[in-house]
């Protein structure tokens, strides 16, 4: 639903004559990147810089009985070979827990394994040499004596008494358990006409960023200061944690984050090898570069999903959903990641299941267990794809059971658009969602009835197409409720400083970061719009803890909603300051003046009064000519954090149209639609591309991506030939539509859009496959939906 803003002052800030809000404008950083002038960490070369290669465990679980590096140390170019215990003199271990996730436990994790390795790929030694190739040559000659231990690999048996306990000090392999019980679930099931159950299985997958994780750490002993160049989503978080574990003050650590080649949540965590690189720089007193290669990216970049979730839904014959119940199990590797923890995904699943629907009856259990596999943590749309696939899968199964159209059952159960504010059965508070408006728009965009007719006609010819629908909600703009309340030193607030320079150009420093989603562009758009200057005058600076205001960064769909609002507020202050001075110079009053197209004009008729460059000249070079008592403040800083709602929920609905070759099990995606509501849209193209990119990652999970481990905990497809990322050839056209319900918590009204696509794509595809297979009586609740899975379900093999 499109909500008109009531506050007229707000309207003026956003809808000014040369506003860029709501317009597709090219990104300011595009030419730089397209001309190869980006600066990625791999591009950074410093004097005396050495390269580190990590020798990684070939075993999933083993004792380290000895490391012999004597031959390796003699190799050309080798500077040092450092073991975990040697490195522990400069860096302390950490434990990835948060106090608000009650009962969450984990074991101390070291930068390099000491005495024991807990997953295949964990670093056991660092080889530092003048070049990466020399370090790799030497690493081959480091001999490690391992004693293999039982590996815990199957999450289903991780809690069995017969299964080895990975960390004896923890007592068992249970990292976290959450139980939730709302309403009267048993009674609701008892009163239902039908109760349907299914087990949903989600493959473990990973982010596969184009640019791997990379860091250059430069300990300057003379300054007693560490500069960390790193592709990260959260520079201030890295600063805090590096300082904490290296025994430094935050002021002794500077984190610089220039261009980043994709992140998707992969680069928002603290990785052991990155910590080891900081520590090595301090130990060896020189710059050290670590760039993960593709194999180690697969083995050490966080994995995600890997859930098995039993679900149950009750429904009456009139289509009323009476209750949801889930029992979710996930295996997270041997350690809870630091500092955001690996319990968040399961926690989100509990939070989000049933979220779009009216029923108040909801019971959930989530268990998070340790395993000897790579660590798992937050990746784009944390928990959402699981929750959405389970919820929407159950809704479709219920509809199928009572013979109701999937659209109709949703119409009858989605929370009404005029019912807000309200809360979900798990206690989440919704400010304003638009499920019904979104669904109506989707049906129109996709031509639902015509597609159904086409499906029926083709079925008669042995062509099996399916339609899948998935409504979803998305957590965006997180407040301190996400991490801060649990004790993590991760800012939920962001800050923007904006200033007018002497020739009328605008410099804007923001604490949000850019990994390709357009943070720089949206910030410049907001600043240009609010101030009344053209975007080409606005220069945005991000990613440097010495320069930008303190803040959270870009993750959890928060950059536009939180960082954007800070930019808006800071620029409003700057605008007021400029108009105050202009009024004094022009012997007018601020209220009679405005700034349009880089100049001060009469608010009433737009008559030009004075260019900003001329005003700036006076302020900076001839302040003596200003009236007495006037001190210009052409720089303003503002911060913003949501306070009223812990999260700004968004919503939307997706649809998939696909064809299943029932002889071969291959799925051809024909078309995908998304309608979503992220509130105010700053740059429609950026939002649409965020949605499309997110959908593609969701489609990857639906059809292709899976980290395949064998029973001994070996990752068997750690390369781009065997781990299948979605490619353009298999992707359908993705139509994106919007409904706009701005959040009233900010003047900007923007909510996040970064994860909506990923949240619902796999659910839509799975529902569509099941719709296509309906004549065969086959139901599949496992992704990725490989030909092997489909043929097996069809009984063809």
């Amino acid at each position: 639903m499109t909500t008109a803003r009531e506050n007229s002052e707000t309207l003026s800030a956003l809808d000014r004559p040369n506003s860029y809000i709501g317009k597709t404008v090219p990104r300011p950083n595009l030419d730089r990147l397209m001309q190869g002038r980006g600066l990625y960490v791999s591009d950074i070369e410093l004097p005396r810089m050495a390269h580190v290669v990590f020798l990684r465990s070939p075993h999933a679980h083993a004792k380290i009985n000895g490391i012999d590096a004597s031959t390796a140390k003699q190799m050309p170019g080798v500077i040092a070979v450092v073991s975990g215990s040697e490195l522990s003199t400069v860096i302390t271990p950490w434990v990835g827990v948060l106090s608000h996730l009650k009962g969450l436990k984990s074991a101390p994790q070291s930068a390099i394994a000491v005495d024991r390795v807990c997953w295949q790929g964990e670093a056991v030694a660092a080889v530092v040499a003048s070049s990466r190739a020399q370090a790799e040559d030497a690493a081959e000659l480091v001999s490690v004596e391992y004693e293999e231990l039982d590996a815990v690999t199957d999450m289903r048996t991780a809690l069995d008494p017969a299964t080895a306990v990975i960390h004896a000090s923890l007592g068992d392999n249970l990292a976290f358990e959450r139980n939730h019980d709302a309403g009267a679930v048993d009674q609701a099931f008892a009163e239902s006409d039908e109760v349907v159950e299914a087990e949903f299985v989600f493959g473990r997958h990973t982010g596969v960023t184009l640019e791997p994780r990379a860091v250059v750490a430069d300990w300057n002993a003379a300054e007693a200061r560490l500069t960390i160049y790193q592709g990260t989503q959260a520079p201030h978080m890295v600063q805090n944690i590096a300082a904490l574990h290296l025994g430094l003050k935050e002021s002794q650590v500077r984190v610089v984050c220039k261009d980043v080649g994709g992140s998707f949540g992969i680069k928002v965590h603290i990785y052991a090898d990155e910590m080891a690189t900081y520590a090595l720089s301090k130990l060896l007193r020189r710059p050290i570069k670590f760039v993960a290669d593709r194999v180690e990216s697969f083995n050490t970049d966080i994995h995600a999903r890997d859930h098995r979730c039993k679900g149950k839904i009750g429904v009456t014959r009139d289509g009323t959903i009476t209750a949801f119940e889930i029992d979710d199990l996930t295996g997270i590797g041997p350690y809870s990641m630091y500092p955001r923890t690996s319990a968040i995904e399961a926690n989100q699943v509990v939070n989000l299941v049933g979220g779009p629907y009216l029923t108040r009856n909801y019971r959930a259990r989530a268990r998070v267990v340790f395993q000897n596999k790579n660590v798992m943590c937050q990746y784009r749309a944390v928990g959402h794809p699981i929750a959405c696939s389970v919820t929407e899968g159950l809704v479709d199964l219920a509809a199928m059971k009572i013979g109701m159209d999937p659209i109709e059952i949703r119409r009858r159960n989605l929370i009404a658009d005029d019912a807000y504010p309200c809360a979900s059965p798990s206690g989440l508070r919704f400010e304003q969602l638009s499920h019904h408006a979104s669904l109506a728009k989707l049906i129109k965009m996709m031509g639902y009835d015509a597609l159904r007719a086409e499906q029926t006609a083709l079925r008669a010819k042995g062509i099996h197409r399916g339609i899948g629908i998935a409504s979803f909600i998305e957590v965006t703009n997180p407040s301190a409720a996400f991490y801060g309340v649990g004790g993590a030193k991760i800012s939920s607030q962001d800050g923007v400083a904006v200033r007018l320079d002497a020739q009328g150009s605008v410099i804007c420093q923001t604490s949000i970061t850019e990994q390709g989603q357009g943070s720089e562009s949206l910030t410049a758009q907001i600043v240009g719009s609010v101030l009344g200057v053209s975007m080409d005058r606005v220069r945005v600076i991000l990613g440097d803890t010495d320069i930008t205001p303190y803040g959270g960064g870009t993750w959890a769909s928060r950059g536009a909603g939180i960082g954007g609002e800070a930019a808006l507020q800071a620029t409003k202050v700057l605008r007021k300051n400029i108009l105050d001075v202009a009024a004094a110079v022009l012997q007018s009053t601020p209220g009679d003046l405005d700034i349009v197209n880089n100049g001060v004009v009469n608010a009433a008729d737009g008559t030009p009064r004075i260019d900003l460059s001329e005003l700036a000249r006076i302020v900076y070079f001839r302040p003596d000519t200003l009236p007495p008592g006037i001190q210009a403040e052409f720089m303003a800083t503002r911060h913003f954090v949501p306070r009223e709602y812990p999260f700004a929920f968004t919503n939307g609905v997706q649809a998939s149209w696909l064809e299943v070759d029932t002889d071969t099990g291959f799925v051809k995606l024909l078309k995908h639609w998304v309608v979503e509501d992220c509130g105010t849209i700053i740059n429609p193209q950026l939002v649409d591309e965020q949605i499309r990119g997110g959908v593609v990652q969701g489609l990857g999970a639906a059809l292709f991506e899976k980290c395949v481990y064998d029973e001994r905990g070996q990752l068997t497809n750690a390369n781009m030939a065997d781990y299948l990322v979605p490619m353009s050839g298999e992707m359908p056209d993705i139509d994106v539509g919007h409904v706009v319900s701005p959040t009233l918590e900010s003047e900007l009204g923007a909510k996040g859009a970064g994860e909506a696509g990923t949240a619902g794509a796999a659910a839509a595809v799975t529902n569509a496959v099941n719709d296509a297979l309906r004549p065969f009586g086959a139901i599949i609740t496992e992704i990725p939906l490989t030909p092997q899975v489909i043929l097996t379900a069809l009984g063809r093999i």
Binding site: G462, T664, N717, N719, A721, L724, M727, G729, I797
Partner: protein, 293 residues
């Protein structure tokens, strides 16, 4: 991912390359397009002491048709195969197949000789060589050797080539006029290695096959020229005949397990391909689901 240190020599002539191969034998690897060799080296799966780069040997590049024989130089890259009018005219099966070889960037570098010498059982071109009855021309210290494609592929990444030999060309007999072909592979994504593929060449007269050559790939440790094709020649094709051929095919296959498919799935897909191939070549849509029903 950096390769281990290796020596590098850029061969200036075939004779030069052969001298180097004679001197270094198994310690050396020939670099053609490098599309399989270099990833394997960077992953340190192999660590040759010497790389013999034959990229400058232009005499090994190109396509010639003469007296009913199509000769393709070993260094002819996939992209050139794809746009060669001679191949399109005389071996259109190969044109269709090359379109399935990886992606344009790889097709620009990868060569037919490299693909055949590498002998990945899931590659398209080795199977095409079987189907088209190719002869592989190798040169070694003792001169030139002509090896029938049917005897060339010896296992996963294994061929009849000796370490001192260089694959210099392939010769294809130009198929008779009115010959038809079929190529299809099942791959998870466009450009991926096939789960199962089929390169077929046939001669059809009065609705019957008078000749049918079925080159399957990714169905075992090497490409397979299916003997069961014989069950479909000179007979009226009925679903029962097709089913019998499919059953015979099943007995010939020895598929491997990998991330994409179990042996059972490969057998199933091979039978599907057989039915689709026969249906397509005979233009009889009703046979499309034949063997799998």
């Amino acid at each position: 991912m950096k390769a281990s240190a290796f020596a590098y020599a850029r061969a200036t002539s075939v004779a030069d390359a052969l001298e180097l191969l004679t001197a270094h034998g198994e310690r050396a690897k020939v670099l053609s397009g490098g599309q399989s060799l270099l990833p394997a080296m960077n992953l340190r799966l192999i660590a040759p002491e010497l790389i013999i780069d034959i990229g400058a040997l232009t005499e090994l590049r190109g396509v010639v048709v003469k007296e009913g024989v199509l000769t393709i130089g070993a260094l002819t890259c996939h992209a050139d195969l794809l746009k060669s009018p001679e191949i399109a005219a005389h071996a259109p099966l190969l044109t269709d197949a090359v379109a399935h070889v990886a992606h344009p960037a790889i097709r620009n570098r990868g060569t037919i000789g490299g693909s055949l010498a590498h002998a990945d059982p899931a590659s398209e071109l080795p199977a095409c060589m079987l189907t088209l009855g190719a002869t592989i021309i190798a040169r070694g210290p003792g001169g030139e050797r002509r090896i029938a494609a049917s005897g060339f592929f010896a296992g996963i990444y294994e061929t009849a080539l000796a370490p001192q030999e260089l694959l210099v060309a392939v010769e294809l007999p130009v198929p008779p006029k009115n010959s038809t072909h079929f190529f299809h592979e099942f791959a998870r994504r466009q450009g991926d290695y096939a789960i199962v593929g089929l390169a077929a060449q046939a001669f059809v007269r009065d609705g019957r096959f008078t000749d049918l050559r079925l080159g399957f790939f990714a169905v075992g440790d090497r490409p397979l020229l299916a003997r069961s094709a014989g069950k479909l020649v000179d007979v009226a094709i009925t679903p029962a005949v097709l089913a019998e051929a499919a059953s015979a095919l099943n007995d010939e296959l020895d598929p491997l397990e990998d991330h994409q498919a179990t042996p059972a799935m490969r057998r199933h897909l091979a039978k599907i391909l057989l039915a689709r191939c026969v249906s397509s070549l005979l233009a009889r849509p009703e046979l499309r689901a034949g063997a799998s029903a």
